[in-house]
């Protein structure tokens, strides 16, 4: 059998078990574009680490129903729950992020009850916490921070594996928290908030004409009530949080620490590898520690010497005969498989040529879906297999 690593023959091998056994690694972040098997990869890494003796918590964002069930995640409770079935001395907990609840809890733990209640009822807060593009990323990072603090204080876990939100692009996950942080803590929102702090909208009148034009345009676009809601919101959270941006910056710094390892997940498809490529460059630019690339859904074949053209012409010859040939069908199946493999190799080649030092672990494509812990174990095992 040609090993899946044949897809990137010149790339150094990403040794998954060495990564999981490295006790100095406390956080593994799985990132990549949507639909590449990121959540499954995170869960499989977590289970394998637990089976190898580590105390692991997996933070998933949006798992498939049956994968969630296999981890015992039957309801959203925004808190890690133990997963039964780990072999050996390690342990596994898993949780699914509830974005709004994380935000609510964040408010409740940082404000007195009266103030918290006012914030939670604010219409702008409701929109921000449930639908704003970027809040999910921000809250995933907030939750990661909480889990980390808890792991350190209670010694509950020694490894956190994080799945990242299905963003517009993989880079959103790095940028959204800061963007949200700088808006909520930035100059613009402070200008907006000024009137509320100074005791109401009357204050607007004494501001410069430029500012008047500015707020008038803004209320034209988003409506006057929104401005008032935003102002009230900012005024009530401003003094409490020590700054959203500060928190976002702290998260960013945490991701740069040596005890974090990034695993970029991709499939051998054009878009997924392009995103992976951007991500690898970006991690390097921001000095974030990259462990390597997990390449899922790699096609394999046991007869690489039988190429697609030969198989297809042989199938055609057999189909010319009088009886229906199973062999002809098998040859066509093989031809499709080899053609897929060749295309994947070409795409992978483009990635590896531009990123020669990036370690790669290739995972063969599975015939079925992963539905239980044994399925996850199988994924973990093939991820860790040496070429």
């Amino acid at each position: 059998m040609t090993p899946p690593s044949g897809i990137a023959p010149r790339s150094p091998h990403l040794d998954i078990d060495a990564l999981l056994d490295d006790r100095s690694v406390k956080v593994i972040v799985c990132c990549g574009s949507g639909g590449v098997g990121k959540t499954t990869t995170a869960a499989a890494l977590g289970l394998r680490a637990a089976d190898r003796g580590r105390d692991v918590v997996v933070l998933t964002i949006d798992p498939a129903r049956r994968l969630a069930q296999s981890l015992g995640l039957t309801e959203l409770d925004n808190d890690p729950r133990p997963v039964a079935g780990v072999s050996g001395t390690g342990s596994l907990s898993a949780m699914m992020l509830d974005m709004k609840r994380t935000f609510d809890e964040f408010v409740e733990s940082n404000a007195d009850p009266e103030r918290a209640a006012a914030i939670l009822a604010n219409p702008f807060y409701l929109s921000l916490s449930s639908s704003f593009a970027g809040t999910q990323e921000y809250m995933a990072m907030e939750k990661l921070g909480q889990l980390r603090a808890r792991a350190a204080a209670e010694r509950t876990w020694d490894l956190i594996v994080v799945d990242t939100p299905p963003s517009r692009s993989a880079l959103d996950f790095l940028d959204a928290p800061r963007r949200l942080g700088s808006f909520l803590d930035g100059r613009f929102i402070r200008i907006l908030a000024a009137p509320a702090k100074a005791g109401g909208r009357a204050y607007l009148k004494v501001l410069s004409a430029g500012f008047g034009m500015f707020t008038s345009v803004l209320s034209k676009v988003i409506g006057g009530q929104v401005l008032v809601d935003v102002q009230t919101f900012v005024a009530s959270v401003d003094t409490l949080f020590g700054g959203f941006r500060q928190r976002a910056d702290d998260t960013f710094a945490m991701l740069q620490a040596a005890d974090t390892a990034f695993v970029v997940v991709a499939a051998p498809e054009r878009d997924a590898l392009r995103e992976a490529s951007y991500f690898v460059d970006r991690l390097e630019a921001d000095s974030m520690p990259l462990a390597g690339l997990v390449l899922n859904r790699v096609q394999t074949t046991s007869v690489p010497d039988l190429d697609a053209a030969t198989a297809t012409s042989a199938a055609t010859r057999l189909e010319g005969g009088s009886r229906t040939s199973v062999t002809a069908a098998l040859l066509r199946i093989h031809a499709d498989r080899v053609a897929t493999l060749d295309r994947q190799k070409r795409l992978a080649e483009r990635f590896t040529a531009a990123h020669r030092d990036v370690r790669v672990a290739a995972v063969p494509s599975l015939a079925g879906d992963v539905v239980d812990l044994d399925g996850l174990r199988e994924v973990g095992a093939s991820m860790a297999r040496h070429p």
Binding site: P166, Q225, E269, D271, D305
Partner: protein, 376 residues
């Protein structure tokens, strides 16, 4: 779907007799079937929204659908809203600016234009159109207000993006619509209902004012018969589940659910009997070995023809049988998922798996197949 429909004919030939019709689809009642081709399923639709789980190929489908709709001399605009430049990649053209560019010519003289909608540009354009405030744009941008309005203020971004698509649908020159149809490469299934349902999204924020009226105007198009929201899926558990959820969310929101486009469908190459045998590991290996020798794949001495290493016939036979078993497993799984899709009771279209990937040429083939199945 009537038998003999072109487009899928090539697939049909390979469908073994006795296999449960894998490409069967619910047939919407249409009276005037053009000779050789079904009349389109969505004659009244001007805005085709294409969504799908990440990795299912929704950008490819949106591009192919635009080509299909443009076939025969029509003018179609395809827009993207997520700033990814996916359309430029698919059509193999330089990155798209915030301007409508012709990216392809369709069979029969049709034209496909493409546009990458940028929310900031759309906002500045909107301010100019309604308030003659273009100059203010620069000042506002400096203060971070444009960023705020397009990124942080919930819902505003989506109103701007859908608003631009609506404008293209409504745009007229000399009383005639500029575009016969607009196709949107939309956000993924998980976010589609919220993205399109701008009315509810801004309801809590803007009860009156221009954003509110803009949202209402958008909903007049999006929640009407002028629009169809098509969902792209693969025959895998997660995408199919998300498609079912997406259909439910769209229905709840009162948005018009269009067709389901099943991408990357494997050709069932084995007959039903052979498929069952392959899954049980009961294929006749001796007969396969004899066939391989007859076809000249292996030498009479029992090794793979032309191979430099010693690959024995027995190894080749075992490997092909194992690959056959994988394929049979996969096809059986796809059939189960297909049943779940049928249960959604929407017109369904299938695009075959292309081992060599999708280039511009393949895009035209896919467009032709979609047309043959009646999507355009």
């Amino acid at each position: 779907m009537p038998l003999g429909t072109p487009g899928l004919a090539d697939l049909r030939l390979d469908t073994p007799p006795g296999h449960p019709a894998p490409y069967a689809q619910p047939v919407p009642t249409t009276s005037d079937v053009a000779p050789g081709r079904r009349s389109p399923d969505w004659p009244a639709v001007r805005l085709h929204v294409v969504s799908g789980k990440g990795g299912t190929g929704k950008t490819t489908v949106a591009a192919a659908l635009a080509l299909a709709l443009a076939t025969g001399g029509r003018k179609v605009l395809v827009v993207e809203v997520e700033g990814r430049q996916g359309l430029a990649q698919i059509f193999d053209v330089p990155p798209l600016p915030y301007a409508e560019r012709r990216v392809a010519v369709a069979p029969g003289g049709g034209e496909v234009f493409a546009l990458a909608i940028d929310p900031e540009e759309a906002l500045v354009e909107y301010l100019e159109m309604f308030y003659n405030l273009r100059r203010a744009g620069t000042a506002l941008r400096k203060m971070g207000a444009i960023d705020f309005a397009t990124t942080v203020a919930p819902g505003v971004r989506d109103v701007l993006l859908t608003g631009k698509a609506k404008e293209a649908v409504r745009r007229k020159k000399d009383g005639v619509p500029v575009y016969d149809a607009v196709v949107m490469d939309a956000p993924p299934t998980g976010r589609i209902a919220r993205f399109l349902n701008v009315n509810t999204e801004v309801a809590g924020l803007a009860r009156t004012g221009p954003i509110r009226s803009q949202a209402d105007a958008v909903m007049e198009v999006i929640a009407s018969r002028l629009t169809a929201v098509h969902l792209v899926t693969l025959l895998e558990e997660m995408p199919v589940q998300e498609t079912a959820d997406g259909v439910a969310h769209l229905r709840e929101a009162g948005l018009p659910v269009g067709g389901i486009i099943v991408n990357q469908v494997r050709r069932p190459l084995l007959s039903a009997t052979a498929q069952a045998k392959a899954r049980k590991g009961k294929l006749d290996l001796a007969a396969i070995a004899a066939d391989l020798e007859a076809a000249g794949v292996v030498t009479p001495s029992g090794a793979l023809e032309g191979s430099h290493g010693m690959v024995l016939t027995a190894d080749v036979v075992a490997a092909l049988a194992a690959e056959g078993a994988d394929h049979a497993e996969r096809v059986a799984l796809e059939q189960r998922e297909r049943d779940d899709i049928q249960a959604l009771e929407r017109p369904t279209y299938e695009i075959p798996f292309l081992p060599d990937g999708v280039d511009v040429g393949a895009l035209y083939d896919i467009a032709e197949q979609l047309r043959g199945q009646g999507i355009a």
